[in-house]
Symmetry: C4
Subunit: 227 residues, 4 copies
């Protein structure tokens, strides 16, 4: 057999040198972590107040903070959404020990939507609870969270890239978990047609649905432990 | 017993797969370090001078630097405050070998205030020693440093996440140390009501209180070594 | 013989202490990854819409997105180009286990063009398919991809920095692969003289040429396996 | 003896828990690398052209690039200066296996000047070769490079933090090397008083002095090998 140089990367398990990724999981994740960290920190650049004469600042400071409240809210919202994406992403990849070419490409598309995040945040910050920007924000969030869902579907299909003995319950739980965010944002779009503010409030339902789904699956899991 | 895949993450010690973090301490800290590094570097973007015709620059350069002195001071102040937060944060986590779900959440909230830092810095840079912006700056700093204090309280309570044999003296010392910053900024708020400049000067008291507390605890520690 | 301190860096294999790099491959790549991650994330800062009165936003939101379509297209284009540069760069260095002084210098110049990327992207975003900005964009891309090509040429020449037993087929394949991008962008410059939009369309030819070259080399490689 | 928890950090060799850094060399350098990478990438945000009507862009594109030539030159200059600082910094620390409290503090001050770099670059980009901005740029560069020199002096004094058997020649070579940059920028300040452009040209002398110093020390080193 022809000698094939396999490189020092542990994640590089392909036998075909022309299909090699030359990319291990740790490097892919370090790159992603960097992008997450930068995107989440750039959000603060949107926090600006209008020009105010210096001698007036003490009088108008609080009203000004109230005026830019949509910006502050958008900042807080996007910060915690990106932070939770990062946690979900990390949790998911703790089940995926290897990469392949398709997963890397899906990954890049997922990162595209993370990098994009400051744009809908900036729109939401300026135009607050108007239909068009709320729908746009919800659409971008639907897309990014759907990509996380697809990443999991691709990796877990027939145990393609996950551990062979990972239980079907966990696979199903992760799938359902990864559907909560896209479904919540998608459902909020028709709600926004009625009332954009209500749509934004509906996003907070995730504070309830995530623990609910976990509790449900813990019970289901407990039941199968006996068999 | 049902087979549970535990992942490659060393910090993942939970037995319950539905509660798993999928996040080790090293990754959490690398992510935080990235956010610290970005937030501290973005501060420089505030350093701008007003438009000056090119042929006048040599005449007005020094007066212009004096004009933007609050910006320069705000930049220096926030740079060294964030750098010291980073050092305190690193020191604290050198005592905490593991993570749990609550610590990660507190961590994310702490990072929120680090990411926010360029905003009060920008306000301080424009409006200098006015009551409202000084109080706002002090409030944000109180919040971020309190979170570091709560992180330690949570981790050290009943040796929850710290080494079982870490001495009570060290735990107490770290608690007191982590109270210096929030107390200093909180106390500066009533001072700002009298004189905002005095409040800013009062922050420098930390250059004395930190070494004082250390000396005091070194003595206390030395006394107990004999028992 | 004089005692020479070799340092802890594994990539530091020089025997002459005055020529030492003090830089291992992992650190060089981590630094580059950081620059890639920041440059790719900064692109989003160009996505801005003109000032629109708040009450008009729902009416003009879609037409505004259409108006800034060159910005959006430039953002998407540069995001995926930088991401693919990163993948190519990672793949290439998976074949290069060590660094030397020249490779580090070439590396720095390559990073210069990565850091520069947001500038032609910003121009393309504002002026869309005008001859001058399309040619400028193509020139910068030609330069950055040529540097990746030169990096490979330098490292692979006489197996200078690559594994001694890496096959000539792989070396040739990597050379040809690394020529696709510069040739595509260079050829698009005369096309832009005829029609700038056509030049931009011509860049998409890489979606075909990359798989074609791979298939061709896979066949060539398969043929030599018997000898 | 009282039990002292030493933490997992390899760089943490202090016996006194109250003086512990909780910071290993690798983390300090990763943090610094992040700051270097961000500061060097932020430079591109200064590359902007004035507003030009879209239909005029092809006619005025080249003249516009010429107009912003100081910005482009400032970008190139600062990029390669920061990149070389990074290489010098890495080379220096490859000789320093451990940290102490003072070195960390000097390090933080050094990072302050790296973070500051985009500010003088922005001034140089707008006002080109005017006395005040050239002197300001030279002063900041003198400060940052002097800090690198002091870092080395502190670490190498009586072999405080370097390997005990590192030769005096290498120590001296590194000291002299680290003086080239501050001396070059300091000497350029009186030159700027005569002619600011000449001062900027004088900076390029480093392209000659660095290799000269290396050659000189290589000879000196070769002479002592026999003794």
């Amino acid at each position: 057999m022809y000698k094939v140089f396999m490189g020092e990367n542990p994640g590089d398990t392909t036998g075909d040198i022309f299909d090699r990724l030359g990319l291990d999981k740790a490097s892919m994740m370090a790159f992603s972590d960097g992008i997450f960290a930068i995107a989440i920190t750039l959000l603060v650049l949107e926090l600006r107040i209008p020009d105010i004469p210096s001698h007036d600042i003490d009088t108008v400071f609080l009203p000004t903070l109230v005026d830019i409240f949509p910006k502050i809210l958008g900042f807080i919202l996007s910060f915690f959404i990106i932070a939770n994406f990062w946690l979900s992403y990390r949790r998911m990849f703790s089940f995926i020990p290897t990469l392949d070419r398709v997963l890397v490409r899906l990954h890049i598309v997922f990162l595209f939507f993370i990098v994009l995040m400051p744009f809908p945040t900036y729109l939401l910050g300026i135009y607050g609870n108007h239909l068009s920007v709320v729908v746009f924000y919800a659409l971008i969030l639907t897309m990014s969270s759907l990509l996380l869902f697809f990443l999991w579907k691709y990796a877990s299909k027939n145990h393609r890239l996950i551990e062979p003995d990972l239980s079907e319950h966990v696979i199903e739980y992760m799938s359902v978990r990864n559907l909560i965010t896209p479904v919540t944002f998608l459902v909020s779009i028709p709600i926004a047609l009625v009332n954009p503010l209500l749509a934004m409030v509906s996003w907070s339902s995730m504070l309830v649905t995530f623990p609910l789904v976990k509790t449900r699956y813990k019970k289901k899991f407990a039941g199968t432990q006996d068999t």
